[in-house]
């Protein structure tokens, strides 16, 4: 079930109404029921359903077992065993993908293992949950319905955020009363998510897909444009899903963790990873980087750990060696930054971000350089093969000419000047809103709070205008084949 669809909207509306009608103490059951319904409607086959519910059931059993055995602490075998079982479906799917990418398996044989919706995300969520129980950081949830809710909460099942039990467990399970501000902010976030997905990401995707499909017909300018647009498309696409997730959860008064903090305002790669897919970054930090020793055992070990962590990230993101190269590239970027003393400590950067205005202008050169480095890596990510990525880079660097004028190339890519004008405007709006959010402070709520304080007619005008923009300029409908959320494929 697609998050941007009428059936999903109907499901959310039904769950919301039932949630408000149920007695406070049992409201979580409505959310559990809604999550079950969403999972059943999204699972593509019976085997996928078996893997999905089987993993969740085993996760529950393991959580109870680990809590019981934790105090004994004789060996880590119980934890290791649990994690291996939980990770098995994900490893199997990745193995299939890699074997296909390396042409050891044919494409049709490489889709035999079931791929339940949200596999990559709920696996990490469960792994963190089990590890935290073992470490005594949280208690196992005994109530199966509450556990099921935590593990498969429908707004976050497909693309995260990857929540920790300590962050959301209690919040999900406690019945919450209707709060007008939560409801309005939730709707606003959903609207913003629809704008990012339909007006920006889907539209950018048309040109990006055409150029990456066959770069030989396009000029170096178009190739460079497609690389930049992919960086923006990926951000808008993923961020839109996060907005839809957080916004939907917000309707119920549930706060899911933020996953983005304007990543393209980062002034170093290290800063970038504090702003992009934050819940994954922190998962990797807590469950891969720190257990490996982090940065506490000398530079050599620190760099090794960076490489290993980002290789894991690359492995998680995709099913071909190109993703490992992508991960490795990010590790190399950070090693270079560390060696050159670039990318200051978190607290210094926070101070810098707090003092806005002229310091933002001073950040621009570093922001642009970071964006360039990230985009180079994204090209490898998108191309999904090193040869295809090399083809695009070569096109750009050799100043190649395409077939026809720029307008003709736009048409060949399935778009036109009017669409590009709308896209440019949408990107400008995204930049403006991101700038205002960055200035307003922590999280998107701060900007939403400021919107609340505007005179009602002005607020209505802004909100209704955004609705009009999404309905009119959104890239959806019979003339367009909807693009699946990119991160949903991981």
């Amino acid at each position: 079930m697609d998050y941007v669809s009428f059936p999903y909207a109907a499901l959310v509306a039904a769950v919301f109404v039932l949630y408000c009608l149920f007695p406070l103490r049992s409201r979580y059951l409505v959310l559990t029921g809604g999550s079950l319904a969403f999972a059943l409607l999204s699972l593509s086959s019976v085997p996928a359903g078996i893997v999905f519910f089987g993993t969740l059931a085993l996760g529950y059993l393991f959580s109870r077992m680990l809590e019981a055995k934790r105090k004994e602490k004789k060996s880590s075998l119980p934890l290791a065993f649990s994690l291996v079982i939980i990770f098995l479906p994900l490893i199997a799917v990745k193995a299939e993908d890699y074997l296909a990418a390396l042409h050891i398996l044919s494409a049709d044989k490489a889709k035999l293992f079931p791929r339940p919706v949200g596999l990559s995300f709920y696996t990490l969520l469960l792994a963190a949950y089990l590890a935290d129980i073992w470490a005594g950081k949280c208690q196992a949830e005994k109530n199966p319905a509450k556990y099921l809710l935590f593990a498969s909460f429908f707004p976050q099942l497909v693309q995260g955020p990857i929540a920790r039990y300590k962050e959301t467990g209690d919040s999900l399970a406690t019945g919450r009363r209707f709060v007008d501000k939560n409801f309005v902010h939730g709707l606003r976030l959903i609207l913003w998510g629809l704008f990012l997905k339909l007006v920006l990401a889907n539209r950018a995707g048309i040109l990006v897909d055409a150029v990456f499909e066959d770069v030989s017909a396009f000029s170096c300018g178009m190739a460079a444009l497609s690389a930049v647009l992919y960086s923006i498309q990926l951000y808008a696409d993923f961020s839109s899903c996060v907005c839809l997730s957080l916004g939907t959860a917000g309707l119920f008064g549930i706060r899911l963790p933020e996953n983005f903090c304007h990543p393209y305002f980062a002034t170093s790669i290290r800063d970038f990873w504090r702003r992009w897919h934050i819940t994954l970054s922190s998962w990797l930090r807590d469950y891969v980087y720190i257990p490996l020793g982090g940065s506490r055992r000398g530079k050599a070990i620190k760099y090794r750990n960076l490489v290993l962590t980002f290789l894991v990230s690359g492995f998680w993101h995709g099913g071909s060696p190109a993703f490992l190269v992508w991960g490795l590239l990010h590790a190399i970027y950070q090693i270079a930054e560390d060696a050159l003393g670039i990318g200051r400590k978190k607290t210094e950067q926070e101070q810098e971000h707090a003092s806005f205005g002229i310091s933002f202008l001073r950040r621009i050169p570093r922001m642009l350089l970071t964006f360039l480095l990230v985009t180079i890596a994204w090209v490898i990510f998108r191309a999904q093969s090193l040869s295809a990525a090399a083809g695009l880079f070569q096109r750009i660097l050799t100043g190649a000419k395409g077939t026809g004028t720029f307008s003709e190339q736009l048409l060949a890519a399935g778009t036109d000047a009017k669409d590009m004008a709308v896209l440019a405007t949408a990107i400008a709006v995204l930049f403006l809103v991101s700038f205002l959010q960055e200035r307003a402070g922590n999280g998107k709520d701060a900007l939403s709070d400021r919107l609340d304080r505007l005179p009602l007619p002005v607020r209505f005008l802004l909100e209704l205008s955004l609705i009009a923009v999404v309905v009119v300029f959104g890239t959806y409908g019979a003339g367009y084949h909807a693009k699946d959320f990119i991160y949903g494929e991981f």
């Binding site: 406070l24 209505f460 609705i467 309905v471 009119v472 959104g474 959806y476 409908g477 019979a478």
Partner: protein, 365 residues
């Protein structure tokens, strides 16, 4: 005095500011918030409707015809005031003039034909029309017996203006079942979701000027008829002879050869199915149905035969105006009275309507 429920609510949400919990708000504030939300929803609905009026297809063919005027105009007429309804594709809306019919016989009518109107669309529009009118006769042009649904735009032009009735619900459901890749329910009830992309081609005239929904709505004086001023001129046309010696009325086609439908006269299964439903519907309602073929270049003896057989099998009179007897009775001069290969011009429409007028008058009386 605070009751125990409120105090337990406060305890449970100790962290949340009390005045944001909706239940704990004073009644006045609650009303204000609900009113604010209601106003927003109404404004959003108005916005959607406004965008729809600007961006949806209006089916304007020329200064004197649009699908808007045909269908919205029909709904605006006095109930049970019509004696005759016309249905069919553009062949029909160029050939049958309600004004001419009324002048000649006093019979009141409306032309519900539309661009590429299939028998499917004719059937559902007739069903819808019968909720508002009790005609004694229906005239259906035969051209679309040889086709299926018509293009997507033409389907929308007819159905976008049908009110959301039980008839529309059935039509939409059949349409979506027939072509799930092309049609979906939300687009058929809210055409804006399909045609929002027209923002690229909308002109100021269509948004606010003479081509806008509001302007077209007023132009109903032709009652669904589309006057055409063009003249086909020097184009060969041979009426069908009684002895069947003329096989094709014209071979002025793309490649000079008869189109397949002209050679085979094959009526499509979809058209046959819905023609039979139209015939049954008319019979149930005591309506005399006439199957008519207006004079066109792309007609043939096989097409005549298959239409004749289908009509006969359903006890429906078939009037082929391509036959010599009809052409001569109408004094129809193809080169002067046709606008193009498929459509009559104003002169041709007068002659066709007057010819039918006598037949309709006697059938109704």
């Amino acid at each position: 005095m605070e009751n125990s429920e409120n105090s337990s609510i406060r305890k449970k949400h100790a962290g949340a500011p009390e005045d944001t919990l909706f239940l704990l708000l004073p009644a006045g504030k609650k009303t204000k918030l609900l009113l604010r939300d209601l106003v927003f929803v109404l404004l959003a609905a108005l916005l959607f409707a406004g965008l729809s009026l600007v961006l949806d297809l209006k089916g304007k063919e020329n200064e004197n015809y649009s699908a808007v005027a045909t269908y919205e105009g029909f709904y605006g007429e006095e109930k049970n005031s019509m004696d005759v309804l016309f249905l069919g594709s553009s062949n029909a809306y160029c050939a049958f003039s309600p004004a001419e019919l009324e002048k000649r016989t006093g019979l009141v009518s409306w032309n519900l034909a539309s661009s590429q109107q299939s028998l499917f669309t004719s059937y559902y529009w007739l069903r819808e029309a019968l909720w508002y009118q009790k005609p004694k006769a229906v005239v259906l042009d035969a051209y679309y017996l040889y086709f299926t649904l018509g293009n997507e735009g033409s389907v929308h032009k007819a159905f976008d203006f049908m009110r959301p009735s039980a008839v529309k619900r059935q039509a939409v459901s059949h349409l979506v079942r027939m072509k799930p890749d092309t049609y979906n329910k939300q687009d058929l009830y809210f055409p804006l979701l399909r045609y929002h992309e027209r923002w690229k081609e909308i002109t100021p005239a269509e948004a606010f000027g003479e081509d806008s929904f509001a302007s077209l709505l007023g132009k109903t004086e032709n009652r669904g008829y589309c006057p055409r001023d063009e003249v086909i001129g020097d184009s060969p046309y041979a009426p069908l002879e009684a002895d069947g010696s003329v096989r094709y009325t014209s071979l002025e086609t793309d490649d000079g050869k008869p189109y397949e439908m002209m050679q085979t006269g094959q009526i499509t299964a979809l058209s046959k199915y819905y023609f039979e439903k139209i015939a049954a519907l008319c019979e149930e309602n005591g309506i005399t149905l006439f199957l008519v073929k207006t004079p066109i270049s792309w007609w043939s003896e096989p097409m005549h035969d298959s239409a004749q057989n289908l009509a006969a099998a359903n006890n429906v009179p078939f009037l082929d105006l391509n036959e010599r007897s009809a052409i001569e009775a109408m004094d129809y001069v193809y080169q002067e009275d046709a606008a193009d290969h498929l459509h009559a011009n104003t002169e041709g429409a007068k002659k066709i309507t007057n010819y039918l007028a006598t037949i309709l008058k006697s059938a109704i009386e």
